[in-house]
Amino acid sequence: MTIGIGGAGGRLAAKLDPNATVVNVSESELNKVDAARRILAAVHTPRGQFRGSRKNPQIGREAYGSVKRELVELIRGQLVFSSTGGGTGNGITSGLLVDLAATEAIPIPDKTFFGLILPYPTLEPAEYIKNTSEFLQGALSAAIDSGNTGNIVLFSNRLKFESRLAEDAFNQMLVESLKVFLAVPEKNDNLRLLDGHIDYEDFNLYLSRPFFNHFTYFEYDSKVAFEKQLRANPNPLLLAPEAPIEALFLLEVPQGGDPTVFYDILQYFAEKNVSPVYSVVENPDREEPFVTVSLLYSRKPAELLQDFNRISEEHAKAKVRKSMEQLVELPILNVNLESEAKRVARQRGGTESDILVVLRRLGKL
């Protein structure tokens, strides 16, 4: 089962899995998503829950209290999708991650796979960047340190903005990409196995590792070095990976193809001191070898945070520069202090002579 938190997370989860559960603080947003189950996280408001968290993670964090007990049970061993820029996804997922971090130990089958959608700092609003920075620095950092999460996939909105894609089309790309990766154990089961194996148990074990996951797939050319091909074909929907700690790959070779081409891949990982989980299968539908690779890396959130902070700082500088350019030159005012003091005195209650004039007029002097 898939769980989607917030607007973006809910839409993505519902697209990936027809049996998805979506969580939101906005009733109208919930009703827009075609999901099997909808959970409304309660916020205290006199106006009804038709507005979302309005980019304010505090509202999401407060609403988390109302769904905490249910969600903590629900996410065990499941896929959770959320964005980090807005209010609901950020707030509720922060609450979940903090609770996970505080849990003693979570059994391997109960580890949760997180798909986090990060904003594209260059083009998205500064609030999204700020919220994401806080999320990476706080909740995500604590959860990673505890080791109580499963894989965390960091999706980036970069391609969506650079290629000017509609959200629905972009979500469709994310879903298609995820499906390729999640189909690894199924292909291993259904296709003729030539070498290695990745059954459901192996795959779930891999998903339960508490590292960032960068997966990609491409047609494999045995004449070109694997490293070169891997570098040329990163997944454009994800943040770039770091040096892998663990890896997994599934190589599909055409019928009658050479099954030994994967040695080059093993050689590559051996040089990186990584022993990958792998499977080589024969897929009659393929005309060329096709490889699905996943790299687990441990890029610390602090480093990720630096990226966001750096970009956020550039945003701030650009704003300052823009406002300086719009500065209007003010004319120089020549102020005579004496006349100004008299004017103020007049405003305050009249000058000395005025008072004496009043007294004389009254006939009292």
Binding site: A345, G349, T351, E352, I355, V358, L359, L362, K364, L365
Partner: protein, 138 residues
Amino acid sequence: MVRGRDKSSSEWPPLPTRPTDAGGGGGAISAERLFQEQVAQLNETHFLVLLWAAQGEDRRIRYNITNVFDDLKSAGVTRTKQTAVAAVDALHVLRFVTVREEGNRKNIYITRYGAKALEALVVGGAFTSRRSAFVEGQ
């Protein structure tokens, strides 16, 4: 009703202008000297009450103790009605103002001596004048 000038001050006996023996064995004190000492003891609150009472009278506005308190409070001089009442009381005792009960209100009118005291304070530049919210607002 048109409020005229304070006539009560004219009913007072004239103050002696020369040294007398009335003070007993302590030595004589002139009326002029006494007046100067009285004026010297006045503080900003007294000055403002005199000023606003004169301005109110000039504009033919009844200026009462409640208005004094409101204005002093708005000028940031005091926050208690007690201080306002004490200032008016002191001026009344010194015969610098007359307090008349008119229609359930204690209205304040400046006397000739009060006018002289105010003149002395203004000329001496002892205090800065301030605006009366009540008088200006009428």
